[in-house]
C-alpha cells in the first residue's frame, strides 16, 4: 500500500503502473483535479493544508479498512498539499482487485470517506477573493458530541 502526503506533483502514471499485479482483473482510479470554477466563480488556485501527521494516519487507516471491507488486493492513496493550479491532481486513489465491483466500491468509499474524515482543508483563491471551502459535516464517529453529550452539557 502506498499512502502518502506530498508537496509536489503526484506521479499518477507511475503509481498506477506499479499497482498492477497478476492477480488483478480490475484497476479503478480516481483522479481529483483542480477545477477552473466553483459554482461558476472562476478559480485561480487552491491552497491545501493538513494536520499532516494525523491526516497520514487517517489515510493509512482508511486504506487498511478498504482492503478488509471490500476484499481488494491493494490500495494507493496520495494527497498533495500546498498551492495547486487548475488541472493539477490534488488526490489520487487507486484500487487493484481481482473483480471490478469491489474495485469501484472501494475506490468510491475511499474518496468519499477521505473527504469527510481526513484533516485536510483547502482555501480557494478566486479572481475576486479567497474562501476556505465548506467541508461536509463530520460523521458521527468523529464528532465531539454524541446525543448523550449534548444532553449532559444542556
Amino acid at each position: 500500500m502506498r499512502i502518502e502526503i506530498v508537496d509536489e506533483a503526484i506521479p499518477a502514471e507511475a503509481i498506477v503502473a506499479e499497482m498492477k499485479a497478476g492477480a488483478d482483473g480490475a484497476v479503478c482510479v480516481f483522479d481529483g483535479i483542480v477545477r477552473d470554477n466553483t459554482r461558476g466563480r472562476r478559480t485561480l488556485h487552491l491552497d491545501y493544508e493538513a494536520y499532516r501527521e494525523m491526516a497520514l494516519e487517517q489515510m493509512k487507516g482508511l486504506a487498511a479498512e478498504a482492503v478488509t471491507r471490500f476484499g481488494v488486493r491493494d490500495v494507493a492513496l496520495v494527497h498533495r498539499l500546498g498551492r495547486l493550479v487548475v488541472g493539477e491532481t490534488s488526490v489520487l486513489v487507486v484500487v487493484a482487485s481481482a473483480h471490478r465491483g469491489a474495485a469501484f466500491d472501494a475506490c468510491r468509499w475511499l474518496i468519499d470517506t477521505l473527504k469527510t474524515t481526513v484533516p485536510i482543508w483547502k482555501k480557494e483563491q478566486f479572481v475576486d477573493g479567497a474562501v476556505w471551502a465548506d467541508g461536509e459535516p463530520f460523521p458521527a464517529a468523529m464528532a465531539v458530541h454524541s446525543g448523550d453529550d449534548l444532553e449532559m452539557l444542556g
Binding site: Y51, M54, A55, H79, S90, L114, K115, I120, W132, M152
Partner: protein
C-alpha cells in the same frame, strides 16, 4: 471550574478557517486539570467570541476535536502535555 486541584499545559492547534481567525496555528495554554474536551471547546468558543472573531455558530457546532492526533469525544478528559487540535469540517480531495 471550582474544586480543580491544579493546572496543566496543553498545546492547541488551529486549522483552516480557525487558524485565520486565531491569527496563529499553535498556542500553549494552561488549563485546569480534569477539563473535558467538551468543556475545552466551550471555552475556546467563548474566547473567540470575546475577541470578536467569532464565525457563525454553525461553524462551532460542526468542529471536531483531535487529542494527540485522534478524534476525541466530548467526555474525554484532557491531560498535561496533550496536543489538542480544533478541526473545522474537512475539505480535502476534489471533485465534490
Amino acid at each position: 471550574m471550582l474544586g480543580y486541584s491544579g493546572l496543566m499545559r496543553v498545546r492547541v492547534l488551529y486549522f483552516g478557517v480557525l487558524r485565520d481567525l486565531a491569527g496563529h496555528r499553535e498556542v500553549e495554554v494552561e488549563l485546569a486539570e480534569g477539563l473535558s474536551v467538551a468543556e475545552f471547546l466551550a471555552f475556546q468558543r467563548a474566547s473567540f467570541q470575546r475577541a470578536s472573531v467569532a464565525e457563525a455558530s454553525q461553524l462551532w457546532d460542526s468542529i471536531a476535536v483531535a487529542v494527540n492526533k485522534e478524534y476525541a469525544r466530548g467526555d474525554v478528559v484532557l491531560r498535561d502535555g496533550d496536543e489538542v487540535a480544533l478541526l473545522p469540517p474537512v475539505s480535502g480531495g476534489r471533485g465534490l
